[in-house]
Symmetry: C2
Subunit: 194 residues, 2 copies
DNA sequence: CACATTTTGGACCGATCGATACAAAACTGG
DNA sequence: CCAGTTTTGTATCGATCGGTCCAAAATGTG
């Protein structure tokens, strides 16, 4: 073998993710990435090939974390309606706790749109997974009678997904808990069984 | 007097706005700004002082246009509920027509967060104006009986504002008309009188 | 027609961009 | 303890960044 790496790759990706999260792709220089990760340029390029590739790793890391967290959250909750309630209030709590950090995926969509094919593929994959998760919740909610049965579960999923994005955007621009909660309350009511 | 400018300042701001809109603040170089506006560096710096200042002008221009368009749209519509319906479908039509351009304000919130005080002030002002507009619509809707009277008009405004942001974000990541319409339908139902 | 004033184009500034080259350092398997 | 392999720090690359300088060009005014 050879000389081992002196750092934890996963941890480095996490730090890089934080940097991109705060300042965006274009707004984060390779120098800033070195400082955020504590690595030298050589280590970064030797391990991750390029700034763009590191961003992809960071995006993957973020998306994976998010899906895992949300899957756990939704599964440990009770009825369909309660799952959506848990999702919204978890989002709000997180944003309040992190002082309006927002969402890396939301930021990335805003920054890139559909311009970059690799980014676009990640966004699409993440969206698909979230919609599948939410769609399943909607269906369960319709079965247990807590979610409006007249609605397409896919539409409910899309609505909830969009609502979460809206909340994260609100938070990033500095909206307070009260405002976010009033949005979540209306959104929840919208999909609840009548 | 002296030598007159060879270009229309307003038009130049419009072109710069388009460039920032597509690629963000950090993603738009001064060279790109020259090409987008058709101006030389000297003219840009002589007229707008700095990239940042030009961005502020572009943001102001965008916000003003938006408020004017939305004010007109909401005033020419009928009942409160119809106004919100018009708002959502106008948003969707616009996004479909422009192939998922999204919203410059949304993008700017995502890129800057609360980091830049001048940007933040603009975002806050634009948000305040939109919320006032939407809040008035909500109140009218409650009077004419088309909007849920049990709800705080401010909350309805916040919800509608967040929904529009959500739609623009969906569009920017490539969502189709159908998905956006299903979100709008649920959102509309949420605030309608029961 | 000359003067004062402004705009314009183009050269140019130091700083920083993302990325690479290279040799010293650090490790493992033999 | 040596050979082989990889990582690391440093120096550096050309390109581009945002911004400035300056002389030529273009106008209204006297």
């Amino acid at each position: 073998m050879a000389r081992p790496k002196e750092f934890d790759e996963r941890a480095a990706i996490g730090r890089a993710m934080d940097a991109f999260w705060a300042r965006g792709y274009e707004g984060t220089s390779t120098q800033a990435l070195c400082e955020a990760t504590g690595l030298g340029r050589s280590s970064i390029y030797n391990t991750f090939t390029s700034k763009h590739a590191l961003f992809m790793r960071a995006l993957d890391h973020y998306a994976e974390r998010g899906i895992v967290a949300r899957t756990a959250l939704l599964e440990e909750s009770g009825s369909g309606a309660e799952r959506f309630r848990a999702l919204f209030s978890y989002t709000i709590d997180e944003e309040v706790a992190h002082h309006g950090r927002g969402c890396l995926v939301v930021n990335t969509v805003a920054e890139f749109g559909e311009r970059d094919p690799e980014v676009k593929a990640r966004i699409e994959a993440d969206t698909r997974r979230h919609l599948a998760l939410l769609s399943a919740c909607a269906k369960e909610g319709q079965l247990d009678g807590t979610i409006d049965g007249d609605r397409d579960p896919g539409a409910i999923a899309e609505f909830a997904h969009s609502t979460v994005a809206g909340l994260r955007l609100m938070s990033r621009r500095g909206a307070g808990r009260a405002a976010m909660e009033s949005v979540a309350a209306i959104a929840l009511d919208a999909i609840a069984a009548k």
